[in-house]
Symmetry: D2
Subunit: 313 residues, 4 copies
């Protein structure tokens, strides 16, 4: 399998998703490829005693691997990204408290006059698929459940920081972007210009501190195309659920987008009357709060396949 790796040099980091950067590779639909990713800090954290604020220099953070040109992808298509496998390529992961960033503190957007939280680095050893959390806490090892925090396709005009999720995917921090699942992303420019990164060894719902256990990875992906099949927002499918992801602020708008897209999907593909679908979601849908820390919050609405009627088209 072909391996595509990001340029590790700081000056070549890709920290926006958009149509202006030259593709680093071209892939064919159906061809499994290996993509390597740096962690959200560009692999620059090595110890808990580093000066975090010298490493985290917005907006030069969260470098992704890409853009990758997918042959045949055209505006109006949907790009499908099957995540076959994720290997964590380090024996340690890091998490952080970054001042003015996080879910339960003042931030650059929810500005407060309180003193900011102090920067702090947490180092976590990873061995045999288990995370030793550290910090002197006597807790069981945490099994790795790796996924990609950032995955997206290029908007048609905008170049969006890799810190932002949105209609293009991006920094959703949704643990359902994991091996076995397929992510559907809108194609808005020729070749789709796919980017991925921000590997997480494990993450709780909401990613409340702003950091998962951040790790570099080697992942296996297979791309596909649904031709002339426009979607407005990311979707994820697996054997158990069909899922939509909304990213917006306030958080209720993220949830509204996710459910709106889910109800219209149930109507379009499964023939469920819109108001009945809305009501049925109210009885059987699941919701995942993916992130409450990024420039937009991400919420996923999940419909269990077992309650789907036969697909209409």
């Amino acid at each position: 399998m072909r391996t595509i790796a990001p340029d590790p040099n700081f000056e070549n980091w890709v920290c926006v998703i958009g149509p202006y950067a030259k593709p680093i590779a071209t892939v064919k639909p159906g061809e499994p490829v290996v993509l390597e990713t740096m962690d959200a800090f560009g692999n620059k954290l090595t110890s808990e005693s580093q000066d975090l604020m010298k490493i985290v220099r917005f907006p030069y953070v969260n470098p992704v691997t890409g853009p990758i040109y997918v042959e045949g992808a055209e505006p109006g298509d949907t790009l499908t990204v099957k995540i076959e496998q994720i290997e964590i390529t380090s024996e340690k992961g890091f998490s952080t408290i970054i001042p003015d960033f996080g879910g339960v503190c003042g931030t650059s957007w929810t500005r407060v006059l309180n003193d900011p939280l102090k920067p702090r680095i947490f180092k976590h050893l990873i061995k045999d698929g288990l995370i030793i959390w550290g910090q002197g806490l006597a807790i069981p090892k945490i099994p790795c459940e790796p996924f990609y925090g950032t995955i997206g396709t290029s908007p048609n005009l905008e170049a969006i920081t890799t810190l932002s999720p949105g209609f293009h995917g991006g920094n959703m921090d949704d643990p359902d972007v994991c091996p076995g699942n397929t992510v559907h992303l809108p194609v808005q420019v020729p070749g789709a210009l796919f980017c991925v990164g921000d590997g997480h060894a494990v993450q709780g719902d909401a990613e409340v501190s702003g950091a998962a256990v951040e790790v570099p990875t080697r992942g296996v992906f297979t791309f596909g195309l649904m031709k002339k099949h426009p979607i407005r927002a990311p979707r994820i499918v697996n054997e158990e659920f069909i899922m939509t992801v909304g990213s917006a602020k306030p958080m209720e708008d993220a949830a509204r987008i996710a459910f709106y897209e889910l109800v219209l999907w149930l109507e379009a593909d499964y023939g469920i009357d819109r108001m009945a679908g809305y009501q049925l979601c109210s009885h059987v849908a699941k919701v995942r709060l993916a992130n409450m820390v990024d420039t937009l919050y991400s919420v996923s609405a999940k419909f269990p396949r077992r309650y789907l009627p036969r697909k209409r088209r």
Copy 2:
């Protein structure tokens, strides 16, 4: 066991939770009691062809059973409510589309100039613990997972509509208020003045349409007291999780409250340093979006017991 039932007469419905109504019963801590509840419509729905807007007349909705005076409860205590069992006492449940109410539509608060959704009633047959959804949809029967949408104690001064969740509990619509779980509620007035109602046969996360499968119930409850143990917001515990519930708008504020309370709980009772607890939640916590339809949204933050260090006090 003693049975306490609400007065079914419309003029005696209890539609606020507060210190101004006379208790309908007094219970002792440790004594299991049976509480009967009407559904959110006061058991007035019988068919899909009724005129919904003659039945739903805000604020005379969601009548609860209570207030119940708990012997020995004093301000500064925590009331613990073990839900032993919930029996659904009807062979049918109802759900509805109520104009200007719901999660993905204009509401009385998120006011829009678009035409409101049309009122609609859905009838669902319930048999052998299974819900036949109806509406001509060929989907499997849905197993009942009953819980109480509304459960709370009296604020000290306010009388809060039973449509509202808040620091007192109330209309959280959290499916974790279910058999086997114990709800912790702040005591702010002598006797706590407990109320419960709004039985749901099943509900998805978010209760997105504004209605679960609404049913009358007969439940078995055991009350307890944690003396001189003030809490600011509701908590729920079971064998798998310790949980906090935040209710606020916008939704991120509900999530902030839930996680703030969870992190401080980990610190106070389990000796986890506050910033470490914040970070650990970012890796292993789960979140439930309980409701996105009421006067305030409710979000629950859930910490898995398996990652708790030994309890400190």
Copy 3:
């Protein structure tokens, strides 16, 4: 003129607006009356060196004068309250920084793990209608522009803390509740059960710290009734503007309510097509952010009378 004064004893403070307290007086429509009010701290602040947290003990704050029974007021009417005059009855006013309360800091609702702001009292001398701000700041004296932060009528079932604004009026902190202006409030219970308090010597838009220059007052009011004229939310009128006030969170919902009510008012009373009224507001309306600190935010939408067509009914 008759004078109605609040009971200054702490145990008799009225800190909720609702139907459960006995009226302290009955007034007739058209009869000017004098209402005295304590300041938001119950007149308990005297110096900058007091221990603020011993005085501010939620929810026993912001005591109002009332409830006042207005003869002839019935549910479905509108109560009109002409504010004829406000006299500040102290030679000093106070403002405060209250921890976990305010517009640019963590609060009880926007919970953060940052350290709270420190409590602080500011004393301001008032003389000849001018405020000497103090704190060693060499700035001009600020002219008094007194108004009432809290003014409302009873909900039908709820008793709402005097800290909250809402559809009933309440703690809107809108500087347009001032001499010369008339406030319209919904009547939901017999007698309306009017309350007023929270006099402000001057306040900026947003009341961003959570405190204006807080003062006791003596005001002259004339009540009126618009019979069988239900309104959903407070309105204010003067010679220059017709105004609506929305109170909600997030702030955009407050603004939505205000504009929705304004557009429907333009349609109902002035015959302006709904979409044309919406558009015209987009060109000539003014907005006041009244408060961004209370349990709900308050936003006022103001339509200039000079652009009103002749009144239709």
Copy 4:
């Protein structure tokens, strides 16, 4: 004076503000220049009976004039933009109802299942500085108060749609961006890469329908530089006020940013203790809700110069 005009050809419209487009002109600080702008619809509206949805094709809307390279501007500077004059270069202006866009309706972000509002075009004649509103409404002519809805400098990495306001300025829709006022914008790339457009003949606070009276313009600008003077967010100054603009969602976050920046400005440049400045703002600041319709809301906090102590540096 030199005149710089945008390319009117659709394929050359500039609909993002970012570092990727080639400057259309270079200007020197201190040199007055004329900038022509197309209206938000690229001057394509001519009559009320056009098919609006064929003209408004997101994201190809709101074309701006730029980018303009300002000689000597370097990252870390502040660009000052004095707006000397705005001439409206058409005898008609247009406003619109665009489905899924606006302040009191469902939108692409506040998604609802209600039917969208219908598209509608309003034509307004402009003569002698007065707007004849039309639509059969017998209202006085409205005096023109022209300003620019969109004005900004390039982010360092992102290319941001001209529909968005933000820390870079952009589509703030703030009526204080008007003749006589000076806008301060952060410089993040060499040359600043200034863009301006979206002329409004008049606009109410909030721009509630999503449209002002949209017009093409010819404006006179003088640029200046404050070297090594970084600012985080836009500022506006005139003889009466110093102003900050926050753009965020929810709306309270926009207000928080604006007030945070204002309080820190008072501290840095006028020596006012931070908590005293916060309190003083609570007594004398004004707020303008600039827009409640764009991808982010914009709120301006305004401090009256008459209450400024002498400037410290």
